[in-house]
């Protein structure tokens, strides 16, 4: 492979020597080369970022729907085309990072003294100082050190060359950020491959005990890790106004061999056991009681799960619709309809009759079931670690901005001639103010 390959636009991305494996035909190597260059180009990176943004926009406007007409965003974002864009971006980032490794190593190693001539010629400023070159060189080093620069110097006779930099660790920032992005994409792809973990659902009546095998969709869980769950109660807590729901609780006991552990699961407070998480997701009630309507004699009813949705009295055209149950006060929230019109909302206390027109309703018991979403996702800690890495990387790359200053000090008729100049990709103004202060101090 030719060593003099053109660098990327800025020269920042040096070609990686790792790919220059011996062997293979000339054309074979060229293809690898072309592919590698394509994958490591920043242009591809920016294009992919924008394509990803554009594709994401489309997915929020043109929303696929499920069989109930609800938006099903995942249908779009789990589409292979979208995943190919993500995978290409991950690959691009990986290749870029490998390519940049040499640059990183040399940056961490420090600026090269040999580059001094070039830089000061291009961006330097010359000052005449009335002092010995050696003394001046010391002064320059001192000023730089006080500003937090690392110093690398060489001396040939009475000519001193000083390379210095600060904020060099900043170069690790983007590196960590890119690595974190790669890690997260991998975790997501692994999750959607279905090879680890699962997304499931569990529904259980109060008072019953269930095995983990009753969880709908359970997968990739070792049989030895199975346990039983007893649903002790499902509770709805209302706010003092009696209308707004404050929280839903599922009190459960995990029975794992001889060990019993109690959990209270509520929204924003999942239970985690053996790596499986249970989230409060939904619920339902079964109401039993009696009613006497225009037909006369008492009749029993079962509403909710396992029965009708509401109680209807033919003679009066009244419908009684239970909408919830407050556990603390033992009140059934009841809506009363006349035809299509809602005519009253009452709280029916258990075993106390509610009368409307000629209809009397008594709720005698309420039994609840809870619906928990369950999942196991070994990718979550990886995503977590990736997120921390991302933040650390981003913060580092913005806080530590590398500045490099080179100076050459040589003897001059009246003392010393100092040539000083520098570069900074990200903080030109910071660099300029450092240079200004240093030259001002030298002139004194």
């Amino acid at each position: 492979m030719p060593e003099n390959r053109k660098k990327d636009a800025t020269g920042a991305e040096e070609r990686n020597l790792l790919t220059g494996k011996e062997g293979g035909s000339e054309t074979g190597r060229n293809i690898i080369d072309i592919a590698w260059n394509f994958l490591s180009s920043m242009k591809l990176g920016i294009v992919l970022l924008l394509v990803l943004a554009a594709a994401s926009i489309i997915g929020t406007i043109w929303v696929p729907r499920d069989m109930y007409g609800q938006p099903d965003y995942l249908k779009f974002y789990n589409h292979p085309v979208f995943n190919i864009i993500l995978a290409l971006l991950a690959l691009n980032i990986l290749v870029c990072s490998i390519n940049r490794w040499k640059l990183i190593k040399s940056t961490l190693g420090g600026p090269s003294v040999a580059a001094a001539e070039n830089i000061v010629k291009k961006s330097g400023e010359a000052l005449k100082i009335k002092a010995e070159p050696a003394q001046t060189a010391n002064q320059v080093r001192d000023l730089l050190k006080r500003k937090g620069y690392r110093i690398f110097s060489s001396q040939e006779g009475e000519v001193f060359k000083i390379a210095s930099d600060k904020g060099h660790l900043g170069i690790l920032g983007p590196y960590l950020t890119h690595l974190s992005f790669f890690i997260m994409i991998v975790a997501i792809v692994v999750k959607f491959s279905g090879l680890v973990g699962f997304d499931g659902q569990f529904a259980g009546w109060e008072g019953e005990t269930y095995s983990l095998g009753d969880v709908h969709g359970i997968q990739n869980v070792d049989y030895d890790d199975y346990f039983d769950i007893r649903v002790n109660s499902f509770r709805t807590e209302y706010r003092p106004d009696g209308h707004e729901i404050k929280q839903w609780f599922s009190d459960v006991t995990v029975i794992d061999g001889d060990k019993e552990t109690d959990f209270s699961i509520y929204v924003n407070q999942p239970m985690v056991y053996n790596g499986i998480k249970f989230y409060q997701s939904s619920y339902g009630h079964q109401y039993v009681g009696k009613y006497s309507g225009t037909a006369g004699e008492d009749q029993e009813f079962i509403l909710g799960q396992g029965g009708q949705e509401y109680l209807w009295d033919e003679g009066t055209n009244l419908a009684f619709v239970p909408t919830g149950f407050e556990d603390e006060t033992k009140k059934v929230k009841l809506q009363i309809y006349k035809g299509q019109q809602i005519v009253d909302e009452v709280d029916a206390v258990i075993n106390q009759p509610v009368k409307y027109e000629n209809v009397e309703v008594v709720f005698e018991g309420v039994r609840s079931y809870t619906v928990l979403s369950t999942k196991k996702d070994p990718g979550v800690p990886i995503i977590g670690a990736g997120s921390i890495l991302l933040i650390v990387g981003v913060v580092i790359s913005f806080i530590l901005r590398q500045r490099k200053i080179w100076s050459i000090i040589r003897p001059d008729a009246k003392g010393a001639l100092v040539e000083i100049g520098g570069v900074s990709a990200k903080d030109k103004r910071g660099l300029d103010s450092d240079l200004e202060e240093i030259t001002a101090a030298l002139k004194k």
């Binding site: 929303v63 007409g69 404050k246 929204v267 924003n268 979550v380 995503i383 991302l390």
Partner: protein, 282 residues
């Protein structure tokens, strides 16, 4: 006086103060008088105080951090803009930026005042899914982040204006009083350098909250997706800047575009896209 009245009055006071500040700064563009411009700073500070008072009162009234409905988001957003702006004014000692940043805060409030129905403003109870400290951190970071992006947008607009004037060899005093192109470019980038890490934190804390509430750190809900899109646009800005040397004009336009995405994430998603859902469901 009860807390609710006090809260409403602090909204009005904030609205008036930001409006006055915007007006003073804009007049200052053509009328160079430092002690007059100082009134703009004073008005901004008063607005920030009453804005803070609004948020504190709202917190007291509702019993939770005031980060739950659109009204509260907006007042948090304007708070972020005012804080970041005052920091920039103090840091760069330039009041002229105010003419390009404070009107953003004022327009946002004017928009609420005109558009938002009365009942959308009430302090409400938290539904169970919103009862999370992560949500509080999430929105608190968002308001500073968005404030920084607003500052970047304002200074980018200044850049674009100044560039046109320079290209036309304008000798107007207005042109002379705008900071140099270099300074504007630098300010705009530095604001993004504050906003971008915070936006990353916003997305991550949002994901943590979603993981606790629903067991899904990412579900491609439109709001989530749009915050990612915004983040990608700023990531593209940073890459274009550092690897292609896209500074100056191109960078300025990208920063303005980025802020348009911020605004869309903030309002557009609720007003256009979720509207779509509501109709789609019928």
């Amino acid at each position: 006086m009860d807390l609710v009245t006090l809260e409403q009055q602090s909204f009005t006071a904030t609205f008036v103060a930001y409006g006055a500040a915007s007006l003073i700064y804009v007049i200052y563009l053509g009328y160079k008088n430092e002690s007059f411009a100082r009134l703009g700073t004073i008005a901004t500070i008063i607005g920030l105080i009453t804005n803070t008072a609004f948020l504190v009162l709202r917190w007291k009234i509702s019993g939770h951090a005031p980060f739950v409905n659109g009204y509260e988001f907006l007042l948090s957003f304007t708070w972020g803009i005012a804080v970041i702006y005052l920091y920039a004014e103090w840091r760069y000692r330039m009041r002229i930026i105010g003419a390009f940043v404070m009107p953003i805060a004022w327009f946002l409030l004017a928009w609420i005042a005109m558009k938002m129905p009365e009942q959308a403003r009430y302090a409400g109870n938290l539904m169970p899914a919103l009862q999370s400290n992560w949500l509080t951190i999430h929105v608190a970071t968002a308001m500073v982040s968005y404030g920084a992006f607003a500052l970047s947008c304002g200074t980018s607009i200044m850049y674009i204006v100044k560039k046109v004037l320079e290209d036309n060899n304008s000798k107007s005093s207005f042109n002379k009083r705008l900071p140099s192109l270099d300074v504007l470019d630098d300010m705009s980038y530095k604001a993004i350098a504050i906003g971008f890490p915070l936006l990353s934190a916003v997305i991550i804390t949002g994901a943590i909250w979603a993981e606790f509430a629903w067991g899904r750190y990412w579900s491609w809900d439109p709001k989530e997706t749009w915050s990612l899109i915004t983040w990608l646009v700023y990531a593209a800005y940073l890459h274009a800047r550092f690897t292609y040397g896209w500074r100056g004009n191109k960078a300025a336009w990208m920063s303005v575009l980025g802020f348009a995405f911020v605004l869309f994430t903030f309002f557009g998603v609720n007003y256009f896209l979720s509207g779509l859902h509501a109709y789609g469901g019928l």
